[in-house]
Symmetry: C3
Subunit: 155 residues, 3 copies
């Protein structure tokens, strides 16, 4: 293996305004408690036997594998939302599946969509679902805003 296998994960979300879209994204990461780390984006699996934990304070600057949905907008008044869902299989020797979705619109609709996406992914695998977890964030843009939802893998 090139990289170590993650053994723990947590869910986190945030929103922010910012000077530029990347500043708003940075602010949303900070609110989510992961703004001082180096997120390495990946697609998008929870390893078997990887345990959900409460958010962990991560070492500043650490390289951290993460799956996340993020959206930025510079249209004042626009509502944007980001959500992630995790579907975990009944058979704990199989992996879980992470889905990400972000779009204009209210949190409930975006979160419903991403949960359905995770269910569809498990249906495609033919794996019954033991648990379906999700987190979402909604933001009404003032000038430049961002919404973020993330699954952080750790060991």
């Amino acid at each position: 293996m090139i990289f170590k296998m993650p053994t723990r994960y947590f869910l986190s979300s945030g929103t922010s305004e910012g000077y530029m879209p990347l500043n708003a994204f940075d602010g949303a990461l900070l609110q989510a408690g992961i703004g001082n780390t180096n997120l390495v984006r990946m697609s998008s699996i929870v390893p078997p036997h990887c345990k959900r934990v409460a958010p962990i304070p991560l070492p500043p600057g650490a390289l951290v594998p993460a799956a996340y949905a993020a959206i930025t907008s510079d249209t004042p008044g626009e509502i944007v939302s980001a959500a992630v869902a995790i579907a975990l299989p009944e058979n704990e020797d199989q992996n879980g599946l992470i889905m990400e979705y972000s779009a204009k619109g209210e949190r409930q609709k975006i979160e419903d969509t991403v949960r359905r996406m995770a269910e569809e992914g498990m249906k495609l695998r033919g794996w019954p679902i033991r648990d379906l977890q999700s987190i979402a964030a909604e933001h009404r843009v003032e000038k430049v805003g961002a919404a973020l939802a993330a699954v952080i893998l750790w060991d």
Copy 2:
């Protein structure tokens, strides 16, 4: 070095329909045999002396460095294709180059383009080509579809 050096690689491709674009992408990954891993996208080199192997069953949830081309579409009837090419140098102490390309259109055209891209990349380096490898996938969209072609690095 921050990460371990890859020593083996394989090529893989897939296509799928899905509930949402990310589901179609997930289905294409599954068809390609890499749907239960965490792909970490990188740009886009085969290390010297890295050996091509037949597709390897990867541990579920493993973090896997990969270069890939992917395209999704929700336009029924549209044909989309994705392709990757690897140009390997005559001097085996030098690295190979991976190119990715995806677009509307038929597989042959997309694959020809990505092969040419890899040739141009080696020309830019002034390195004669020992071998040119490629893989491609074409998909005609029903509702929401995806095509994917990937180079997976492993050790």
Copy 3:
């Protein structure tokens, strides 16, 4: 930790024409001295006590964590620029922040913007700035061109 903590970093930039946008990007990476590595993109922190060094020759094919801004264009005559900035805190036990920005337009304007972005990011953290570093590249497109600016983490 899943990945090793970076201890050194350097800044680098490049521009290029190319057969396709990805070839122009590849050429810009080569000019920047990082074209034969596997960049793993991350968001976007310099760890505490990570030291700036002169550009290091990296092992071909190595997986290298990097934060970068890149822009490609196929509009002849268009000027495109890419820039990164790093704001380092007075308190050396805290991490630095990397910001990336690329857009149509001249280097000076893009670099000014990205420096301001890094300042705003530190203001959001409430951390006084000890040093503000940046690098930028500007390219006038002939046929297909790219500009790139990067922060490379290493150990």
